[in-house]
Symmetry: C2
Subunit: 162 residues, 2 copies
């Protein structure tokens, strides 16, 4: 494997590991457990899972690899705080959507070459990208991997000692 | 910048961004505020900060770039749970140690070439590394970046709405 492909491979493995951990945590919960708050007065687990699902879905157009599959998630899980919208999705619904989106992302990730990972993402202008070439697909991937970890760290507070 | 150097650059920027966010959060807190629990009965902020500091310190030998600067942190912040050890460090102490370690890491990171980032980390055997070449320095960097985000997500629960 070339140096550049091996670097991409590490990043994709780290993404996948965070997806798998998040999936393992949320998929095993009942609808009642998904109602738990991560701390008193804070977001419920269902909201965090929906939020991560919506943000992953938005990666498809942000990386320029496809249209959104579930733009309807944003009103519930991104643009508004928890409890603003009535609960219309069960854990089973969310699991299906989450899997669908992550599968689409993984298929797209697998097709990108190292040079394509370094191309600009779709919300930065050509002009800004010339000055700030780090605003590329790869930096987005790494940032969104951290976003998964950030909220998973919160979610586990409902379960584990730490 | 070559493709491989640009990929490293993205990863180092993402690391730095997480360090800066974590630093901004913890450095601004008083010793009294550092006593806050992230959720009832869970770790205190001082423990999370010490834990991240200790884990960063352990990166120096793990990446093979130098000896530990503060191995004494492990007994307090890694090997034992919060409140097991008496509080011997103030926020001011921790800030000094945190900065010292992160500066050493940054200096080391800046010297590694892409090929060196793909070399094995120090706790995997030569034999295992042949079979699993992704167990390299770069994968460790990405994993530890996620570790920062994971605990920062918990820490902010004491402050922000979400």
């Amino acid at each position: 494997m070339s140096t550049e492909n091996a670097l991409i491979d590490s990043a994709l493995r780290t993404w996948k590991q965070n997806i798998d951990r998040t999936d393992k945590f949320f998929s095993g919960l009942s609808d009642q457990q998904l109602q738990q708050e991560i701390a008193p007065g804070k977001n419920r687990l269902i909201y965090l899972w929906g939020h991560l699902t919506a943000v992953n879905d938005a990666l498809l157009p942000l990386l320029g690899v496809g249209p959104r599959l579930h733009p309807e998630l944003d009103a519930i899980f991104v643009k508004n705080p928890d409890r603003f919208s009535p609960d219309t999705l069960t854990g089973k619904d969310l699991k299906r959507i989450w899997d669908e989106i992550n599968q689409s992302l993984w298929t797209a990730y697998s097709k990108l070459t190292p040079a394509e990972w370094l191309q600009k993402h779709t919300t930065v202008s050509e002009e800004d990208f010339k000055k700030e070439p780090h605003r590329n697909r790869f930096t987005i991937l790494l940032g969104r991997t951290g976003h998964l970890a950030y909220h998973l760290g919160q979610a586990v507070l409902t379960k584990e000692k730490n």
